[in-house]
Amino acid sequence: MIEIIKILSIVAIPGFIVFVLGYGYIKKINVYDTFIEGAKEGLSTVTRIFPYMVAIFLAIGVFRTSGAMDVLVKLISPITNLLGIPAEILPLALMRPVSGIASTGILGELFKTHGPDSFIGRVASTMMGATETIFYTLSIYFGAVGIKKIRYTLWGALLADITGLLVAIVICQIVFGS
């Protein structure tokens, strides 16, 4: 099982690239020109997220170095220790449902501090890849059509989020070892 996961991880990207380009070639589209056309959007996408990145790195940098983050983590760590969540992961787990860009910033910070290939780095990556922004998505989507009563949406979303967080920790312990 673990071997399969590792192999899947290795072949996923080359497999995906070959499949998409091969499919395009069979369907007789100009894959090269089409690729260029899409790749042009890369610059505008990054330009759009850049100011958010500066804002988030500013806030996180200050919050962390000042010792304020340590105080917050200490306050809630008794509960999360019971669930086996490493303390270093807490800021990410807390921020993930609130803001995608902020949690991307925290992930970058964790990579800078612990390294992307550390256990913390791998758990954080798995968590980030397995969960989504909740509050932002709900407010944008429901806001767009004027829905005021969202019924059980938030509870269902949070339940899924917490499942993702916990499974991320357990599966990383099994696959990568702590």
Binding site: K6, L8, E41, V46, A59, G115, R122, I147, R151, C172
Partner: protein
């Protein structure tokens, strides 16, 4: 929400820095943060271009459309009150596929279109339908097959094997999405 969290982080941060005598370090961190944002964005630039290029090929070749045809039966199971062939189904399928491929930027406009279509068959315009709840729970539970942003960030941060978390993330996200779907189905029963 983000507005307040962001402001509090900076205000409380500098307050704590003053209390703990870390003001100098905190202001240095602020400047370093801005510099790191530039480095990170440059690292992301190439990888975003790569994925957006591939996405365009998948779109133009009809691959995206072919997948959405394959998913018709599953979609009917998830959203039983949406008439089959309704534009809401197509928009939701495309949104879920874009999410599966990890293209949040492509997914959001499709998702907004989908919720507009769902609203057109909603009788009470201020209350979410069961299908809307299901759609958003699936959306926020992340159905991403390859977490491209995370891989991009890992590679920008110098990881030796940026893609090694694809398998673990896939398992975690499958569990969270299944729990979300089951929860939505159960909640549905108790919310007439």
């Amino acid at each position: 929400m983000v507005n307040i969290v962001w402001l509090l982080m900076i205000l409380l941060g500098f307050l704590a820095a003053a209390l703990f005598g870390e003001l100098e370090a905190a202001s240095q961190a602020a400047l370093d943060g801005a510099k790191y944002a530039v480095e990170l964005c440059i690292g992301l630039l190439g990888i975003y271009a790569l994925w957006l290029g591939l996405m365009k090929v998948a779109e133009k070749s009809g691959l995206v459309e072919a997948i959405s045809r394959k998913m018709r039966r599953l979609m009917a199971l998830l959203f039983p009150t949406v008439p089959s062939g309704h534009p809401a189904m197509g928009a939701m399928t495309m949104n879920i596929i874009a999410n599966m491929l990890g293209l949040g930027n492509a997914a959001t406009p499709l998702g907004i279109k989908a919720i507009h279509e769902l609203q057109s068959i909603n009788r009470d315009k201020e209350t979410a339908t069961h299908d809307m709840c299901m759609f958003l729970i699936i959306n926020t539970s992340s159905v991403q097959l390859i977490p491209t942003t995370v891989i991009a960030l890992r590679s920008a941060a110098g990881s030796l094997n940026p893609g090694e978390i694809i398998g673990t993330a896939l398992i975690a996200t499958t569990c969270s999405t299944l729990v979300g779907i089951v929860a939505a189905k159960i909640f549905r029963r108790y919310h007439p």
